[in-house]
């Protein structure tokens, strides 16, 4: 699979790269919806990241086990079913044991299923998020999934922390405009955050 900036993402055993060089949020631009919506405090960011990572890991593990048994045509459907199942588990768990967090994350919990991060990191066949890569071209190993999950989690905590601290001085940060602002500023700071998305003939 070629990521948006054309680098070869062949599987490797270096999960650390997912934290910096290939950070899901700041470089690969995956999973932006929860990155904006579930990060009003650092704690929320952590919870969201943890839930997503949990689903990511489980889905990755389960799907790689069943991959060979599933006919190609229903590949993505099966993948989503597995992901949805884990998300439901996460949802129910949070609802029972941490209802305040459940309420804070709200609608973004079920949306984990369609989080591009899950699709890419879980190894979904022919997922549209990866620009229509050929099936099986990118099979993330469990280590990859772990790294991606960790990278995502740390990113969300970072955004949450910035917003939380910022909102003590300027309440904007806690609100929707502030979320956009924070992500925009952080992305700019992260630098070289990919591609020529500006070109009309860009990949998407």
């Amino acid at each position: 699979m070629r990521a948006q900036h054309g680098e070869d993402l062949s599987p490797s055993f270096h999960p650390v790269r997912w934290i910096f060089r290939e950070n899901p949020v700041f470089r690969l631009l995956l999973g932006l919806c929860p990155a904006l919506g579930a990060t009003s405090t650092a704690m929320n960011g952590f919870a969201m990241g943890a839930a997503t990572a949990f689903v990511l890991l489980c889905t990755n593990a389960t799907f790689s086990l069943v991959k060979r048994l599933v006919p190609r045509t229903v590949g993505i459907a099966v993948f989503l079913v597995i992901a949805a199942a884990y998300v439901s588990i996460a949802d129910m768990t949070l609802k029972t044991f941490a209802p305040s967090i459940h309420r804070a994350l709200g609608i973004f919990i079920p949306l984990i299923v369609v989080n591009c991060l899950i699709l890419v990191g879980g190894g979904a066949p022919a997922s549209a998020c990866s620009g229509g890569g050929a099936p099986g071209a990118f099979s993330p190993s469990f280590a990859d999934a772990f790294g991606m999950g960790l990278g995502f989690l740390l990113s969300l905590v970072l955004i949450g922390a910035v917003r939380q601290i910022g909102s003590a001085y300027l309440p904007v940060f806690g609100m929707p405009p502030g979320a956009f602002l924070t992500l925009g500023l952080l992305l700019a700071a992260a630098g070289r955050s990919r591609n020529g998305k500006n070109e009309p003939s860009g990949k998407r």
Binding site: G37, A84, L111, L183, L185, K197
Partner: protein, 185 residues
């Protein structure tokens, strides 16, 4: 009712206030025309999916007391409706299909799924659901349109490379989010 509609467009705007559908929303290449067409496509998909989801929840899940399967089936229904709308479009409106607007719709899964789930969680009746979904879709398309216009202009702006594209789109979205915050009637 009108208030649900209006708030779905502005104060609770999917993209700018609820952060759903941000992925394609801020990575707009292809400009204003594509944004308009994509908006239309997304409207269709959203309406179909919301209706299907709502009906399924009301007449299958609720009687069977299977609310915990809601997420699972919402996703499956999403897949089905997207696929069906796409197939229908390929047959009936080949020019639209060829325009690759459906690619964009893949990224809006958050938004489409989000609307369907919001309908269910807020306990809307059938007509309320329709109004809410159409308002949400219109609001989303409006946000897409505004951002597309702005980004088209900014394409040629001077300034460091690291600011262009996403960061600028996000800050523009921040301002729009603030504006929509106040559109309360």
């Amino acid at each position: 009712m009108f208030s649900v509609f209006l708030s779905a467009i502005f104060v609770n705007n999917l993209l700018l206030r609820q952060f759903l559908g941000v992925c394609p929303g801020t990575m707009l290449c292809g400009g204003v025309r594509k944004a308009i067409a994509s908006g239309g496509v997304i409207f269709c998909i959203m309406m179909c999916n919301s209706t299907a989801s709502w009906l399924f929840d009301r007449y299958v899940l609720l009687p069977l007391n299977a609310e915990h399967l809601q997420i699972l089936f919402s996703v499956l229904i999403l897949l089905t409706t997207t696929w069906s709308v796409e197939v229908l479009a390929a047959k009936l409106l080949p020019s639209v299909y060829a325009g690759e607007h459906f690619r964009l719709s893949y990224g809006t899964h958050c938004a489409v799924l989000g609307v369907a789930l919001l309908n269910l969680r807020k306990g809307y009746g059938f007509a309320e659901m329709l109004v809410h979904s159409s308002g949400a879709a219109i609001g989303f398309s409006l946000a897409l349109l505004l951002l597309a216009g702005i980004m088209e202009r900014l394409r040629f702006a001077p300034g460091s490379e690291r600011l262009k594209g996403m960061p600028q789109a996000l800050v523009a979205a921040a301002v729009l989010s603030a504006v929509f915050h106040f559109v309360v009637l």
